[in-house]
């Protein structure tokens, strides 16, 4: 199976005045295509920093990071935006749906504003995804008319809209109750199965991390469990 993400001796430090704060300290890992991966650890362990770097939103201070055969750290701001638009999907803890758009339009947004899909293809893709995430009958509702779980379903559909090969989800269940959280993770797994997309998510919830097939545990910026597998 080919590697979707490869990190070698990955380091990230932040400067806070005269103090240098290490966020990641020499992290090595490899994630294969189609994997359902969790980065787990307490707050401040470096999970979000790692996801941000995989997503081309942040750059490593040292080491190499290859995402979908691209040296992601070598991309400038515009190229990184293009790369994200073409290959990645994002799911956020706070959903971050556009409040003035309906569920349908939120899923359509990346097809319209990022990838310029023609109208008929957009319609077919959005309809397919709405059905896939079980939101076909809620298409016209705006985010403020949806529950937290429904919003996250829409966010999952939006992340997959552009046929992203890799979806990054930073604490996607943190704002959901446990039942809803499990259902969202089940949905993400189903999407992985249906569309072959690789999912990487972060969580600090021990119950949720059990849903992942591959788990990387982080503590103080170090990997303490490299790719432990769950049944």
């Amino acid at each position: 199976m080919s590697a979707v993400v490869t990190a070698r001796s990955l380091e990230k430090t932040y400067e806070a005045g005269d103090v240098t704060v290490p966020a990641l300290r020499g992290v090595d890992f490899e994630i294969n295509a189609g994997a359902f991966v969790a980065f787990v650890g307490p707050s401040g362990s470096g999970k979000s920093t790692l996801l941000n770097m995989i997503g081309g939103l942040d750059k490593p201070s040292a080491g190499t990071l290859t995402v979908l055969d691209t040296d992601i750290a070598g991309l400038d701001r515009r190229a990184a935006a293009d790369f994200r638009g073409a290959n990645l999907g994002f799911i956020f803890q706070d959903f971050n749906l556009i409040p003035v758009l309906s569920a349908y339009e939120n899923i359509e947004y990346p097809l319209l504003m990022v990838q310029d899909w023609p109208a008929d293809k957009r319609r077919a893709r959005v309809t397919e995804l709405l059905a896939a995430v079980g939101m076909g009958d809620q298409a016209g509702k705006r985010p403020d008319q949806l529950s937290g779980g429904q919003k996250q379903r829409v966010a999952v559909a939006r992340a997959l809209a552009t046929n992203a090969r890799l979806v990054l989800a930073d604490e996607p269940t943190a704002n959901l109750d446990h039942d809803t959280a499990y259902r969202i993770l089940e949905l993400m797994k189903k999407m992985r199965d249906d569309f072959g997309t690789t999912f990487i998510f972060s969580t600090h919830d021990p119950k949720i991390m059990g849903e992942a097939e591959v788990v990387f545990s982080l503590e103080d910026g170090r990997l303490v469990n490299s790719g432990g597998k769950h049944a």
Binding site: F92, D94, N96, M113
Partner: protein, 414 residues
Amino acid sequence: MLKILKLAVRNLTRYWRRTLLTAGLIILGVVAVLLFVSVSGSFKGLIVGQITDSMLGHVQVHRKGYVASIDNLPLNLNMKPGAVARVEQALKDMGDVVAWSPRLKFGAMFSNFTETTSIRLNGVLPKREAAAMPMLPGRLLQGGGNGLVERGKLLIPEILAKGMKINIGDTVVLVATNLDGSVNGKTFTVQGVLGDVTGPGGRDGYLHLDDARELLRLTEAEVSEIAVRLKGLDQLPSAKAQLARALAEIRNPQGQPALEVHGWDQLSPFANIARMIDLLDLFIRVMLVSIVLIAVMNVMMMAVYERIREIGAISAIGTPPRRILGLFLAEGLLLGLVGTAIGTALSLGIIYALNLWPVHFSFGRQQDLVLVPTIATADVLLIGVIVLLVAVTASLQPAWKAARMDPITALRHV
């Protein structure tokens, strides 16, 4: 572009009240400017029209030094027939000239046999004067008859007629000092009474040019001034310059130019009022720009600040920075567009209503002037373009800030 505009419309509906308030400010500004430009322009046009079409003409030609001492109406600074002929030839050669009228201006004693007062008079050729001053016959409050003024007859200003209780057909006497210092008198019949208008010449009397020459015992066909009517006020600068160039060849014995050319604006004090109106016009346009700039910039800065996390999210999922820039610029543009469209429609409606129910007003001694405001398409377009440009410019800084926002920082924003 269309998809950005559609999304911009949706974004503007997030806070209806704020959008309406901002658009309302722009509408108010546009209405204020268009109405001011329309009303002030019409007022200016009305008064300038009165001045140029009934008294001064657009341009006047005098012998050099005459205007400087025009209060004395000096006969020794009249133009000689040779100079007059050359001026008339130059005027014939000019395409922008519609008509011109030679005048002999002088002061005289005016008597109705019981009272005597002074009067300023214009000796004119009636047909030429009526052609050059088309609104002059309209100033006749009483009388009239065959032509503007017949031989042996006199048009007198209203103030004199009222003050001395003179009626049409009354006989009056004019006594004038001649060039050699002698005095000559002649009786005239009052043919008409002229309404006063504001400005120099607004209370002058009129008589036939030949009568004026007889009264002044002039042996030559000399004139004090030639008043010229152009096709329009717009031609004034070029026509004046062209005429000045043509007349520059006429020299006095000292080798200096013998004649001088003045536009109406150099002869009437109303030109200063007109300049003040233009200044106010500019000032109110600057106010409009300020209103639009502050209103749009304020609302766009707020929009960016309130949507920082959203900007972070759309940036993270790959929206190109140019599209984020375009989105916020489009919101500013739409605010300007809505404000301009509604403001212009309202203004045109009010201007139309003012044409249906005109405003009557007085200016100086002129009573019952009718204000019929109009506005040029060019002015409407110019103001619309200014508002749109300012709205987009005001959105530029917030839009640029949004487009350059770091997604991680934006997503962490609380």
